[in-house]
Structure formats: C-alpha cells, structure tokens
C-alpha cells in the first residue's frame, strides 16, 4: 500500500511525519554517511521538504517500509541546487518533469541480498502510477549506475544528464527516465502484481497491525 501525501498532509499526521524523517536519517545519514545532513534530533530534513513536495510512503503491516520524495522541477531542486555537477547540459524542467529523491527501503524489508525488494518495486510502480495520473511522464533521478540497467530492464526510456561521479564510496549518475502505460505494464508484470498500488487518503496509525 502506497500513499502519496503533500508536506502539509504529512505534517497533519505526526506519527507518519516522524517515521519518515527518522527513516531518512537512518538510511541517508547512518547508512550512506551523508554527514552534511546530520542533526542532533536524528531526523533528516532539508530545504526541499517544502509545501510543493510530495511524499510517497509504503506501509506494510503498520510500519513505514519504504519512502521516496517527489520534487517539482519548476522550482529549485537537488539537480539545480545541490548536485549541479551531475548535469552537463541544461537540466530538464516543466510541469511534466519531477525529481525523485530519498528513495529508501527500510532495513527489515530488503528481501534478497542484492536484488530489488518488493517494497522497492512498489515504490517504482507507485511513482509511475502517480505520474501517469497527473500528466507527469519524466522523472529525474540521481542514482547508482546499476539503476540505469534496472530502469532499462523495466522499459523506461533512460537518458543520462551527465557523467557518473563518485560521492564518498558511491557512484552516482543523474538520469532522466521517461515512462508510459507500457512501462507500468512491465513493472506490474515484473512484480506479478497487476492492481494499482496507489491508495487514497491516509494509512492507519503506525504500529497498529491490520488484520489481513
């Protein structure tokens, strides 16, 4: 179950808001070592958590299992303001182009050693569904080069926006992914799950396991 919430909507649910920023801290500060994001309260929050950002939350069994943040390219975002050395030409922008950031799967939900977990693919199915519903067909992502291969496996049209660079011990390449209904079909077929993943409204209170 994936829920798309605006920053305002997220803030109206303190349990979700805290879980989101705590998961981001755990993954991006503790695991990936992005120390410039460190904060004593152990919540990861940056200048892009503004009121036009959208937060995608995957909830499994009353827990926050996965997360990604979508940013409009019609105002400053990571590629223009923070990671501009990843972009060689003009950076793509417009109402149909969003930037996907902070893609994260909580440690307990990473099945398999190296492959993409079902929560991971739910996030992918989620942003494609979400995009197609609101006339967004392109997403900028700064990710590891292996994700280019994975995106091609899922029939995204991928275009590099610059060369790959090394940050800490990670290789990163900025890529523009274009998708259509066909991409959604391929993603769903890969997941063996053909129903929409995007839900309306709010998830139940975190920590409450739902009977299934």
């Amino acid at each position: 179950m994936l829920f798309a919430l605006t920053t305002q909507e997220l803030m109206e649910r303190p349990d979700l808001w805290e879980a989101v920023h705590r998961l981001r801290y755990k993954i991006f500060v503790e695991e990936m070592g992005w120390t410039d994001l460190d904060r004593p309260d152990q919540l990861e929050i940056d200048q892009f958590d503004h009121d036009e950002a959208e937060h995608h939350l995957v909830i499994r069994n009353g827990e926050l299992a996965g997360y990604q943040r979508m940013l409009p390219t019609t105002r400053p975002h990571l590629l223009t303001d923070v990671l501009s050395d990843l972009c060689e030409g003009p950076s793509p922008s417009g109402p149909n182009v969003w930037e996907l950031t902070r893609y994260a799967v909580a440690p307990g939900f990473r099945d398999g050693k190296r492959g993409v977990s079902t929560v991971g693919t739910e996030l992918i199915a989620g942003f494609v569904e979400w995009g197609l519903k609101r006339n967004v067909n392109q997403v900028i992502i700064e990710f590891e080069p292996m994700w280019v291969l994975r995106a091609l496996q899922l029939h995204f049209l991928a275009t590099p926006l610059g060369y790959q660079r090394t940050y800490g011990n990670q290789q990163v390449v900025a890529t523009l992914l274009t998708f259509t209904e066909h991409t959604l079909d391929v993603v769903r077929a890969r997941r063996n799950h053909h129903l929409p993943v995007l839900n309306r409204g709010y998830p139940g209170l975190l920590g409450l396991k739902q009977a299934s």
Partner: protein, 243 residues
C-alpha cells in the same frame, strides 16, 4: 560537438541496436579509439558453474574466439582476478588494478598471462546489479588503454546502456523460446500426474497404453525444461497449462 553530446548520440544509437551483434559493434566503435578493441559482457556465473553452462551467461561477445574457448575450457572464470575483483568492488575499475591485488594466486597469473597472448593486456570492467540481484559485467580489453577522465565517463555510460540494451534483446529472445506448445494429450497426462496418478493409472483413465502415457509425460517434461515429473507438473501449473 562536445564530448557529452557525442556520448548522448552514441547512447541513442546503442538503444536502437536491433541485435546483440549490433550492440557489440556500436560499443566497440566508441571504445576502440581508446585501445579497447575486445568486448565481453554478461551475467557472472556462480563459482563452480559447469563449463557447458558458462557460455549461456554471455550476452555480448567480441572476444578473440579461441580465447573464449580456452577461458571456458580451463574454467578461468573461477580464477580470473578481474571477476573476483569485480565481485568485491561493485564499481568500475581498470584490469591492471585487479591483477595487482591478486598476485598471490598462481591461477590468476595464468589467466592474465594467457590473456596477453590474445592481445588483451589491459582493460576496463564495469560491474552492475540487475533487478533480481544478478551481477552483470561489461569487460572491455585491448593492448593498451589510454583515456582521460571524461572519456572514461563516456565509456562507462556507453557500457551501461549497451548491456541494458543487450538485456532487453535477451529477454525478447527468451520470451520467444519461452512459448511452449503442449499437445492436448500431454496436458491431460500432466493434469492427472498432478493429482498423483501413476503412468499405469493415467493410461487406464485415458484409454491409452502405459507406454504412450509415459511418452507424453516425457515429452512434456523436456518441453518444460524440467528435471523430473514433479518439476514438470509445477512448471505447467506456473505457466497456467494445467490447474
């Protein structure tokens, strides 16, 4: 035209390649000016993969033919310092850095020494991981490798898109082979086998000889690529031929 625009053009060409051979040719067209004249790409076999199956892992190959034969015949994949370096590193690297770390292993020395005979003195390797967690490697080699940081960037991008295209073509080819025609009789026999009937029982139910029911099951088993009856039944259910 700037180097990056050229890179984009190359990638566009790679994405429109219609066969693995065309992908190979286009990628080597980009890299040969840097001394990278041979190419091998595919999934990395698990250590101990039987030799007969190693070639199935190859997706792009423009490697000296004799070298590939020798590589498989001598089971070099288990001793190749480039392969073992790649498994640990998960980032692009130059062959010469891999062999530096592996000097202790005599077998690795043999692999690299042999490679030199085939004018593969140095090269670049790009490890990637697929959706299902399989390690995929693009390895480019030649007599001497000479390229700037920006050119390295171009070659890494081109390699990534080349293997991506190769995998797309590979799955397409797979789905053609994947289509299996089972005859009505084969399906019937499987259906009864699925509920635990023996070959003799099946022959009685369908009014055929025991030998014929055995033959139908054997055919179905081989079409489904199954090792035994249980696996054939499971595979037929998975594919929806029987319920």
């Amino acid at each position: 035209m700037g180097l990056f625009d050229r890179t984009l053009e190359y990638i566009d060409q790679l994405q429109h390649a219609g066969t693995a051979a065309a992908v190979c040719e286009r990628l080597l067209g980009i890299t040969s000016s840097f001394g990278l004249t041979a190419l091998m790409a595919g999934t990395v076999p698990q250590p101990g993969t039987p030799r007969g199956r190693q070639k199935q892992h190859v997706m792009l190959c423009d490697w000296p033919g004799e070298w590939l034969e020798r590589y498989v015949a001598r089971n070099y994949v288990d001793h190749d310092p480039v392969v073992s370096h790649m498994k640990q590193l998960q980032a692009p690297f130059q062959w010469r850095d891999a062999s530096k770390n592996a000097l202790i292993d005599k077998n690795s020395d043999e692999v690299m020494g042999d490679a030199r005979e085939f004018k593969l003195r140095d090269g670049l390797a790009f490890p990637l991981v697929t959706l299902d967690g399989q390690i995929v490697m693009v390895s480019l080699g030649g007599e001497s490798v000479e390229l700037s940081d920006a050119e390295f960037g171009m070659v890494s991008l081109a390699s990534t898109y080349a293997i991506g295209r190769a995998m797309q073509l590979h799955t397409k080819a797979d789905s053609v082979i994947d289509h299996i025609e089972l005859t009505a009789r084969e399906r019937e026999c499987l259906q009864w086998a699925a509920v635990g009937k023996s070959e003799w029982e099946i022959s009685q139910i369908l009014g055929i000889s025991e030998h014929t029911s055995e033959k139908h099951l054997l055919n179905a088993k081989s079409k489904l690529g199954a090792a035994n009856r249980v696996q054939a039944v499971a595979e037929a259910i998975r594919r929806g031929y029987i319920s």
